[in-house]
């Protein structure tokens, strides 16, 4: 029964597979955990982007861009451009861009106090546990 479901699911995700391969862009061997201040969010497609100022070990501020999902479903739920205020402190778990730039896919994003940024998703430290 489990096998059947997984098989059916693989077929269902075929359209997503053709869209964009994150494995080509981000490096599984370079996990990142970033804590920083939101300087802006691009509510754009096909992926939204969170702009984050992160202090490195020496205290220098580096600007990161965190790739997320299409914002359209969030907008339908009532989110808007003010929903992630500048100056918010957030934590991002993800993987760094393969080309070495200060970009990462935001696998999990949350406020520093553990609250979810938008919906679903696990709090940091519960990596891969699923959602809801």
């Amino acid at each position: 029964m489990k096998i059947l479901t997984a098989f059916a699911v693989l077929l269902a995700i075929a359209p997503l597979e053709a869209h964009h391969s994150f494995a080509a862009e981000f490096d599984i061997k370079q996990p990142v955990k970033l804590r920083g201040i939101v300087t802006g969010m691009d509510w754009i497609n096909p992926h939204s982007w969170i702009h984050l100022d992160v202090k490195d070990a020496s205290g220098k501020v580096i600007s990161w861009m965190i790739e997320g999902g299409s914002p359209n479903a969030l907008l339908r739920l009532g989110f808007n451009k003010s929903s992630l205020p500048k100056g918010s402190e957030v934590i991002v778990e993800g993987f760094r861009a393969k080309d070495g730039s200060n970009r990462a896919v935001g696998q999990f994003v949350a406020f520093a106090d553990g609250r979810k940024l938008f919906l679903g998703g696990s709090a940091p430290g519960a990596h891969g546990d699923g959602d809801k």
């Binding site: 995700i13 997503l16 599984i28 939204s48 997320g68 359209n72 999990f108 919906l119 679903g120 959602d131």
Partner: protein
């Protein structure tokens, strides 16, 4: 003509017969298909081989299947892509977070088999040659990337219009003589004249072909030809010929059916039925190309990997 087609046609005819009032009409007297609809489905395009011959679930089996499909995590849904992907449900993009149309079907493709028919020998060769040419070159340049990654055309627009992992939303607007279908991804609009006027000349090919329509009773029938060779719907050539049918079943449901035919690709035509369910919307802009940092990042990553490999290679060798 298979049983399910007969059943659906009978349903549509009886709907038309007993109540043109149940399906509201536009001012020019045709069924009103207008509104915002989702094609999101718990059922895959092709039937799992274990279910061969079983075209329909019982209502209990359908409910159980839906519960199972919607109950898995977004990580399971991502399958092999989960490792480097963001959590979909953070953004409301998981299938369990949107309205899904109900159906008793075990697959979108109808018939005893429920699968895309075999390729013709010509198609197998063509696709094998294409794959061989691309092997090792998938990251050479932008045109080597999938059409969706280039933001050229999405499978939601097609035609045919297939449900995607998310944002499977469309809006229909009608005037006297046209039915316009707007897909959220990628903000495309097909304005289909319903006067059965002739297709474009054969020399003009389009990514989405050329669609002409007419009403058959309560059903909008749309004929699409003039595809490009690069459109390649599931491997099709520019000879792809699509017939779509739209029948409004009730206030919240449209039955969308398409038949794909290309004698240079499949051994026989094949048909799928997708239920469209009414949703509140609205559609939001999906400006794909304008926000497409992904393709640049992907190509840049490939160039960085090549550079790293070249620098790591022992001197004097390649």
């Amino acid at each position: 003509m298979n049983i399910s087609r007969v059943l659906i046609a009978a349903a549509a005819l009886s709907a038309a017969a007993w109540c043109q009032n149940a399906v509201p009409l536009t001012p020019d007297g045709h069924p009103d298909l207008q509104g915002i609809w989702t094609s999101a489905s718990v059922v895959p395009l092709e039937r799992p081989v274990e279910l061969k011959g079983k075209e329909f679930y019982t209502p209990q089996e359908a409910a159980e299947n839906a519960r199972k499909v919607l109950g898995i995590s977004s990580w399971e849904r991502l399958g092999v892509q989960a490792r480097e992907h963001y959590n979909m449900s953070q953004y409301g993009l998981d299938l369990s977070q949107v309205k899904v149309a109900s159906t008793l079907r075990t697959s979108l493709i109808i018939g005893p088999d429920g699968r895309i028919p075999p390729f013709t020998p010509e198609a197998r060769q063509r696709l094998a040659e294409r794959a061989a040419r691309n092997r090792g070159h998938q990251f050479d340049g932008p045109e080597n990337r999938p059409l969706q990654e280039q933001c050229l055309v999405y499978s939601t627009e097609g035609p045919p219009m297939l449900p995607a992992a998310y944002n499977s939303n469309l809006e229909i607007v009608q005037d006297a003589g046209h039915v316009a279908i707007v897909q959220e991804m990628i903000h495309s609009a097909r304005v289909i004249p319903t006067d059965n006027s002739p297709h474009l000349p054969a020399d003009i090919r389009q990514w989405s072909g050329d669609s002409r329509g007419h009403w058959e009773g309560a059903t909008l029938v749309v004929d699409t030809t003039n595809f490009t060779a690069r459109t390649s719907f599931r491997g099709s050539t520019e000879n792809l010929h699509l017939t779509e049918r739209f029948t409004r079943l009730d206030s919240g449901t449209i039955l969308y059916e398409f038949t794909a035919e290309d004698p240079h690709t499949w051994t026989r035509p094949w048909t799928a039925q997708i239920t469209l369910a009414r949703i509140e919307g609205p559609l939001f802009e999906f400006a794909c190309h304008e926000g497409n940092l992904g393709i640049a990042n992907t190509l840049s990553a490939a160039r960085a990997a090549e550079k790293a490999a070249a620098e790591a290679a022992p001197k004097g060798s390649k």
